[in-house]
Amino acid sequence: MKPAPTLSSAFLHPAGQSLPQPLLALRKQRAAALLGMPLPTRKTENWKYSARHLKLADDMAISLPAEGKTGTSLAVPGYKVVFLNGVMLPEASEFPDLDGITITSFSDLDEQEARELAGRLDHTLTPQSVQLAQLNSARFEDGLLIRLQPDAVLDQPLYIIHEVNADASGSAFPRIFVDAGRHSRLTLVEEFISSGSNGQAQVLVNAVTEFCLDEGAHLTSIRLDMEGDSIQHIGATGVRQQRNSRFESHCVGFGGALRRHDLQVRLEGEGAECKLNGVVVAQGAQHYDNHTNIEHVVGHCNSEETYRNIAADQAHVVFNGRIHIHPDAQKSNAEMNNKNLLLSNGAEIDTKPELEIYADDVKCAHGATIGQLDKTSVFYLVSRGIGRREAHVLLTMAFINELVAQIPVPAVRETAQTRLNQFFEATFQEA
């Protein structure tokens, strides 16, 4: 048996040196830990269905330059931070000027702040399950620290546009850390987009976002994955929640060469609750893999998770939803629901609810289904004169409408809707 391929050392070359010393040291430490890391294969449990889509060629290892023009991002109203190829562009950004909120580049932190941050990065994520995503900590060129003082409330959503230029091969490592103080409020919208593509370039986006919610903080995260087909995206979002805090996540993902997103939430204070909604659509030969993990560390917390996946053509969608209820987490209330829609015989969806429950007084419900468009419903619609294609679009939209409608920012909901419509137009093209 030949040895499993390991992560090429080309991916561990340090780049930008603008970071303060403690963060450089952290990066070096992470790089050392990843050296010789075996790449996941189909025998790697949590990469079982995605390993074959992972193709890390050496020429993807180099960081893409943070220069060039940004595209659509300028149209976004209100507060926004624009990342190009993983690095923040201050001139394209519009920061809120409000008491109680500071948005700082990692490279602008002083030694003391940087040391504090270095001690907190990666602590929202379980290292062994997101090893590949943690390449980010060995490679980020810079990052964004968003701090909310106690009781700070951002009056409008804060957009983060992650744009990557897909003209040349390379990689981007955007990094965000959100530190939400007691009873603060924030809605963060992350849009992942790409511009340019010559079809040959191989691009890796490795984005990590972390949220720490102090007591009573309310945070809403909306994430739209809309990068071009050729991009390989390996991302992770980590969340830690203290007492009575609330975290709401709305993810809408469009498939691509490789899409892998890990969402991990730790409920660490009583009364904390999270609501995780996710929609994935994939067509052609696209792929999308969502792994979620909710840790009920203490009792009296609620989690509610609803994911809907749609796969057309030869697309492949994976959902793995883990709920882990720790021994002392009595009176936990966890609900997970995952429904899947296959639009063609060649499409594949793999779903796995994974429940580990070590406390005896808990409520934990889960359900997963995989189905096709209902023939009776199609007949009902076409019997009213509606074209077959339009009937298919209506019914497919119906499958996810409920989740799209819950996206709390109208402009983002519209963006998602527009992109979804484009997806359905392409999927149900007139033969």
Partner: protein
């Protein structure tokens, strides 16, 4: 308007319709009665174009056009409307979106412009009122959580909205209490017009007290075994299907009204 000649149809290789002959002219109301399993619903579904049924023999024309060659949606656009016995619930598609899409599909077929949202809303509210449905039903998912009676009224409301040439009502009376039956009957009567035909499929004669048919046909074993005027329905009620030499256990349980 509708001409059915020697129609045979099967589902999963089992022949259900064994040679139906029926002529319906514009302005007429026909009732098809018969015991359970006689093929009444199959006939409705075949006319509307449900692919689960295979037509093995015979012909059906609508104003001279071969209906069997048309797709379901084309039949609808040519004026066939089926009020379902069991209307389908479609959560996630609002009734309003559904109806507007249907109306505009019909308009497009006739070469007309789409109806704008405001115009449509006005029209939809009017037809809702006609079948005593609160306009709030327009905002709900198609038939989602509707009671049996509300579903049937929603079907009739669609017929009023789409103004078909031939409305086929499949057991529209089943599951209705007497008040709802009256509302539905009023809706159907509003559909009656000299250039429209109505085909009612029903097990019981009680609907025919409210919507008086011009002709009554008895369907049994996949064939029409007797035709007559409205008095045939009354005779059936009095004597039961057994009178015609057919067994029907359900008919014996028919409510006396």
């Amino acid at each position: 308007m509708l001409s059915i000649k020697n129609l045979h149809a099967s589902v999963e290789d089992k022949e259900i319709l064994k040679g139906i002959n029926l002529e319906i002219k514009a302005g007429e109301v026909h009732a098809i009665m018969g015991p359970n399993g006689s093929g009444k619903s199959t006939l409705s579904q075949v006319l509307a174009g449900n692919e689960a049924f295979e037509v093995t023999e015979g012909e059906v024309t609508l104003n001279g056009q071969n209906l069997l060659e048309l797709e379901t949606e084309e039949r609808a656009r040519e004026g066939i409307f089926l009020a379902f016995q069991y209307p389908v619930e479609i959560p996630g598609v609002s009734n309003l979106q559904f109806l507007r899409t249907a109306v505009n599909a019909m308009r497009k077929h006739r070469g007309e412009e789409d109806m704008n949202a405001a115009e449509f809303m006005k029209l939809a509210r009017e037809v809702c009122k006609q079948v005593d449905l609160d306009p709030s039903f327009l905002k709900r998912g198609v038939n989602e959580g509707f009671s049996g009676g509300e579903k049937k009224r929603n079907e009739i409301m669609q017929a009023l909205l789409l103004q078909p040439k031939l409305a086929i009502l499949d057991e529209t009376d089943s599951g209705l209490d007497i008040d709802a039956l009256k509302v539905v009957a009023d809706g159907v009567n509003a559909l009656r017009s000299p250039d429209r035909a109505i085909l009612m499929v029903t097990h019981y004669q009680r609907l025919l007290n409210h919507i008086v048919p011009d002709y009554v046909h008895v369907l049994a074993g996949g064939r029409i075994i007797k035709s007559g005027g409205r008095e045939l329905a009354l005779e059936l009620e009095e004597k039961g299907y057994g009178w015609l030499g057919i067994k029907d256990e359900d008919a014996a349980d028919a409510p006396a009204n």
